[in-house]
Symmetry: C3
Subunit: 305 residues, 3 copies
């Protein structure tokens, strides 16, 4: 058994070295999923009122609590952002223990910009909280929304990840988005642009693609896909990355459960309502309603199942 | 950087104070998500046989194990229920450190009623375990169901949360339901009334709304929505909360994957079968079968994708 | 309260004893969910390069890291496999503290076979990583895929669970699959046979049934069901377990979001494309395209919602 373990361990370790594994000497300092998730959890708690872990914070201790938590989270985030920049850095002198000036200053810049942007992100999130409370008959209080709505958690994480991505931070925004995806079943690519007052109710199965553009006061139900239809390839046959291929959704649109809407030129016009389970790959004008037909029931004449 | 951190922390802390934030002096003792989730995990393990954490329990130690775990869970739950009542209490003398008599007695009453109801809840859950084993060809043993079926976990949590909600406990039932939602992808509002022998197979994406009424021996597959269609507003234009707006599902109904069924007047008649991806906003009689049409395949004549 | 707690604890403990509970003296040593999940997490980290927990591993330490982690994981897995065999063992002399020879040797055999198979499983997973990177325009690097793609995590777990199931290990493969299901929203039964270069994009809501057979280079989007349609019963009216009842998917097929495909005789022919939200219970030939119709939008003439 000892010999077998040794042999297999060697094979597996060698197996880690393959073209396209992404592994290199620089991986040693890479942004780590568990660390990024912890930072994210703390950032969410700092930005949104509600129970933080298992110690609630009364109003008189709020500033002290936020100050301490923010310093701690930012310090760790700064380290992770630097590691992510280093991983992508093409400067031969930039090694795990000694980052190059460009990476160091780049990371510092992002952290300062992020801090400066945080109050504005918090303002946007307040509009999302209001949209959830006003848009869901089941919500009895905004505290209920804040404490338990997965759609709110997903949009908070998105607004943070979207900002970092807009500053070209590699890897970390996607790790954050997938962390929220795992927790809520809601998959929003950090590249998606989303307006104010955004509400995803229930949410499991929602997919919002990288190049989606969504307006203000949009409401989306579970299982809705805003995805890509065709995949452009370059002259070598490889997929072109990052081109506009996901739909646009204008202000005040409502999309019911299970609708699948694809295509970079597909625009759902303002104030439209898209019914459940609809399949759509072309645009609809403002103030449209789009519903599937409902099948006619057949009555079984025997009791055989 | 120090100055920037201080300024942003102050902005964020002030930002927690907004109309509708739900934050008040009373938040300090509020029911906490992490604590509620821990209590819930223990309650589930007490009620359903199977591996509890990583220490299995042999039959001769079972009573000792249940007694200890139950005392511990109930003590914490009692504290959380009191905090939740206090949060909603309109009595000016009822403050975090000194609860009013009404809240104290109310919380004690709920805890006693819950304890008394637990064996009956366990009996219902046994019917759910049987329904899963008998309703799924992939289930090789009831232990497999107990240990690993997410649909079972979701209905156990629901029966606990539904009871607490029936006693008007604020916030906690929704936190429990959303905890199960995060873990299983199954979203059952604590208000939903569900009969015996209930089986959700696979489950990811299922949404069962606040005012659903479901009968006995109902089987539901992944991605099924039993949701609301229209949203009644009052004279000020605000949503009316809590009215009957979700479907009724009678005994022995089977609903296949991805069906979206909406409306408070929509009733799926006894022993009906609803096919996959069906969109339905009106009632169907008992013994109905309702299926979408299947599209005709087109064969591509070239090998271009 | 003390008396009530004692009475309820007794009722609940007795309630654990019921026909079909699966509980027995042998449960004491049963495979535990939390332990199995920990082992699984370590096995995934050993097989796939990327950040392991929060300590990244640089290339020169890789072999040492893999050796240590592998020994530890295998030791725990071996204990769990033995417990699972014992649970199903019908030999009266095989008790929790003293396993029978058959169980001991059977467990050792499985562990050796699993170790021997691991490098081959790693090779298959490399083809899955490549398929994800090449099949998704949003993937900017394979490291991004490895660190954050839930579809990749799900197929890694599947290939491990599928192997153990092929060796008739009870319970554990299903626990592993449901662990991945909880984390990713992707539900692949360990019995499913899946070829190389398999890519599930986004993934939430995907269900792949026990008797599915999937070819090479297949791409599947979120919310797709490959499930069972009818359920054969034996002469006593009970479900027949395990028969072929899930579809076959041939090489190079693409299935878009929300499609529901059912039936053991249903084959999706090579290089076919199945559109979003399609409902299908019959086969389609190779090179087919199958799309739902798209509803016509109606324009609302007033501004009433």
């Amino acid at each position: 058994m000892e010999a077998l373990l040794a042999r297999v361990a060697e094979d597996l370790a060698k197996g880690w070295d393959f073209p396209g594994s992404g592994v290199s000497e620089k991986s040693a300092s890479l942004a780590c999923q568990d660390v990024v998730k912890d930072v994210l959890k703390n950032l969410v708690a700092i930005v949104v009122p509600g129970c933080h872990g298992d110690k609630p914070v009364s109003p008189e201790y709020r500033l002290a609590h936020v100050s301490g938590a923010l310093s701690q989270a930012i310090e760790i985030l700064a380290t992770q952002i630097l590691a992510a920049f280093q991983y992508s850095c093409e400067n031969g002198d930039c090694v795990p223990d000694v980052a190059c000036e460009s990476c160091i200053h780049g990371a510092e810049r992002v952290v300062q910009d992020f801090l400066t942007a945080l109050p504005g992100i918090q303002d946007l999130i307040k509009t999302d909280i209001a949209a959830a409370y006003e848009g869901d008959p089941a919500a009895r209080s905004t505290m209920e929304v804040v404490q338990s709505y997965p759609g709110l958690y997903a949009i908070i994480v998105h607004r943070i990840a979207h900002f970092l991505r807009s500053k070209d931070v590699p890897l970390i925004p996607r790790i954050m988005a997938e962390s929220a995806h795992s927790q809520t079943g809601i998959d929003i690519h950090p590249g998606a642009a989303i307006g104010a007052g955004f509400f995803i109710d229930h949410g499991t199965g929602v997919v919002i693609g990288e190049t989606c553009v969504i307006g203000n006061h949009v409401k989306i139900y579970q299982g809705v896909t805003l995805g890509a239809l065709s995949f452009q390839k370059d002259e070598t046959g490889r997929l072109v990355k990052g081109i506009k291929r996901h739909p646009n959704v204008e202000d005040h649109v409502v999309i019911y459960a299970g609708a699948t809407i694809l295509g970079g030129d597909t625009t759902i016009g303002e104030a439209s309502v898209i019914g459940g389970n609809v399949w759509l790959t072309h645009s609809v004008p403002p103030h449209s309603t789009v519903y599937n037909q409902q099948p006619k029931p057949k009555i079984r004449t025997s009791t055989a199942s």
